[in-house]
Every structure is written in C-alpha cells, then in structure tokens.
C-alpha cells in the first residue's frame, strides 16, 4: 500500500508543480518569446506571421460571447476553470494564472470588444496581444503529450524533433512534436473537467476518422510546416495558397428548354467541390 501511495505521489508531482502567476505581467514574462528570437531569428520571424502568434486576439468576439454567457446563461462565476475552455488552446499559459489574473484577462477581453472608447479597446487589445501560443507553449508546456504517464516537461528544457544541444537552455529530443497527436492537443474538441465538451475545432477527429481511416498517410506537419518551406508560419485557412491547394471546384453548364409548349430557356449547372485536405473543411 505504501508503495502504491508513493507511486501515486510521484505521478502527480509534476502536474502539481506548475507555477501560479499573480500578475499578468509575470505570466507574460514567463512565456515571453523575445529571448528565443536572439538565436532562432528565422523561426521566430516565421512564427510572428502565424496564427499561433495571434491566437488570443483573433478570436476575441466568440471569447467575449462565452465570458458573458458564463454569468448570464449558466449563472456561474468566471473562474480559471471556466475560462480554460477557451484558453486551453488560445492561451494555454493561462493554466498557470491566478484567479486574479483570470478576472483581469476576462475583463480585458470584454473591454477589447465592447469598451466605451477607442483608447480603452486599444489598450486591452495590446495587453491581450501578449498572450498567444508562444515558443514555450509548444516546446515546453505542451511538449509532453502523455503528461499523466511521463510528467510535464522540465521548466527551461525545450523539446524538439532534433534535440540539438544549446548553450542557452536545456534541450531534449522528442518525436512527439513531429506527431499529428501533438497538433491534436488543441486542434480537436476539448474536454474540460466537467466533461462539457467544447466543439470549437474537430480537425483532429476528422483527420483520424475521415482522412487516416480512408488511407491518408500525411501528417499535419507535412502540409502545414514542411511543404514549400512553410516552417513555423504553419499557414491554415487564412492562407489563400493552402486553401486553393486543398479545395477543387469543377463545373459544367448547358442550356435546355423546359415546360413543354412554352419551352423556356433554363441553365443546367453541375458542380463538384472536392476536399483534398486531410481534415474536414471548414473547421476551427
């Protein structure tokens, strides 16, 4: 029994060892991307162009709707657990925020969308812009997919497919980041602790159940990172080139006459739309 309890404590320890930041400034500094920029400039520039770098500010409308609905429709307080339904993917570092920071961020979201004056909206937007899926989120916080089994990544140790040593920080070679399941941590339905599933995105489910089950062999990384040197831009549905690669339109038209005796002209249009992407389209 003692051995069992010891094992249980050891398993839970890495999950319980997360920090809890008392101010938004502390949280932002802990996940700051600028130190990475010094050595990884090209990758950082690519990331700057990505939706990951704007993950918080590009979904403010629906996040505001959700925050308002927590109190209005579900009669519950805005807590970190509630807000994580959005932040789990749009700003995963919020998992380490105190309840005070959670309240501040929720207030900023509402102000950014419906603030009384332009200055207040711009200020809120600037503060929220500092929260996003930064380098640390993917290469550390979320780098270990099976945290229940292996524990979270050690703070300051950055995981990657190459795992090249660095004088600036610890590194660890990890195949996880090259796996579709890694992307699936966010690009899928989210199940919060109360099991009320959030359906913002179901990409990973359709990748597995539709694309892979139908014989598809490409990974998310093949199309969104490696193809055409896309790198950390990781373009998606906002990128015309990628959208045009994924969808094909075919059309034929002919004229006929309808209504016997009147013989009115009519257009017969046949259209085919094909989805060549490895997931359903459109999706979050």
């Amino acid at each position: 029994m003692k051995t069992f309890i010891l094992i249980l404590i050891l398993l839970l320890l890495p999950l319980a060892a997360r920090g809890e930041y008392k101010t938004l400034g502390e949280l932002v500094r802990a996940y700051d991307d600028k130190p990475c920029q010094a050595c990884h400039r090209k990758i950082h520039d690519e990331w700057r162009q990505s939706a990951h770098s704007r993950s918080m500010v590009e979904s403010l409308g629906i996040t505001r709707d959700f925050i308002v609905a927590i109190g209005r429709d579900w009669h519950k307080p805005v807590t970190r657990e509630q807000l994580m339904r959005c932040m789990e993917c749009h700003a995963p570092q919020m998992e380490e925020a105190s309840e005070e920071v959670t309240q501040e961020v929720a207030g900023l979201v509402v102000t950014a969308v419906e603030g009384a004056d332009e200055k207040a909206r711009a200020g809120a937007l600037a503060s929220l812009g500092k929260l996003s899926v930064t380098c640390i989120v993917c290469h550390n916080t979320r780098a270990v997919i099976e945290q229940n089994a292996g524990g979270a990544a050690e703070k300051g140790v950055f995981h990657g497919p190459a795992g090249n040593p660095s004088p600036a920080h610890g590194t660890r070679k990890s195949a996880a980041l090259a796996s579709p399941l890694f992307c699936g941590q966010c690009h899928r339905t989210y199940t919060p602790p109360d099991r009320e599933i959030v359906f913002c995105s179901s990409l990973y489910e359709s990748y597995q159940d539709g694309y892979r089950a139908g014989g598809g062999t490409q990974r998310c990384q093949d199309c969104h990172i490696q193809a055409k040197g896309r790198g950390h831009r990781m373009p998606g549905s906002h990128d015309p080139e990628l959208v045009q690669e994924g969808l094909v339109l075919e059309a034929s038209a002919r004229g006929i006459r309808v209504q016997p005796k009147k013989w009115l002209p009519a257009a017969v249009l046949e259209v085919s739309v094909s989805n060549r992407a490895g997931h359903r389209t459109p999706d979050g």
Binding site: E58, G210, S252, A267, V268, L269, V271, S274, P282
Partner: protein, 98 residues
C-alpha cells in the same frame, strides 16, 4: 465556405442560380456560435469531409427572351466574416438555339 453561381443573359439580366453554404459545425457564417456544444452533436455536419467530393446539380429558368448566357460559379472560403478567399471562379457560356 460559399458556393455561388449566377447567369448573365445576353440581354444583361443577372439570374442567381444557386447559393450553398458549407459551414463549420455549430457556427453561422459570421463566426458566431449559435448552439451549445451538446446541441452541435445533434445537427448535421455541413462541412466537406476529407478526401470526399460533393456534387450539386441545379436547374434554373432564365427569361424567355434569353439566347445565350454566361454562367459564373465561384467557390469562396471565409476564414473570418470580413475576409473572403476565392478558391476558384469558373465561367461557362451556354447558348440556346432559336
């Protein structure tokens, strides 16, 4: 994602032929969530499935005097309510024998 087709006849009349919307589950075209996640599971998935094609066929009457028409088909993806990405635009000419 929106599929639209119109016919412009030789007399200049523009006739809408079709408008189809392929939508993200549970959202309207403005990106607003209109259903709770428990309701979304119950509705029909209106998106395009991976590796699959959808075929649509439309027949639309044109004005009686039409001798020819240009049919334009446009497929657009709207990643956000204010941004349209035109995937492809196809124009076909049809002629009616007198």
């Amino acid at each position: 994602m929106v599929l639209e087709a119109t016919a412009r006849t030789d007399t200049g009349t523009v006739v809408p032929l079709v408008k189809r919307e392929y939508r993200e589950i549970g959202l309207d075209l403005d990106g607003r969530q209109r259903m709770g996640s428990w309701e979304i599971k119950e509705i029909i998935d209106l998106s395009l499935q991976p590796g699959k094609s959808v075929r649509e066929k439309f027949v639309t009457e044109l004005p009686a005097e039409t001798r020819s028409a240009e049919v334009e088909v446009k497929l657009s993806l709207w990643p956000s309510p204010e941004r349209e990405i035109v995937v492809e635009r196809i124009v076909r000419k049809i002629v009616f024998e007198p």
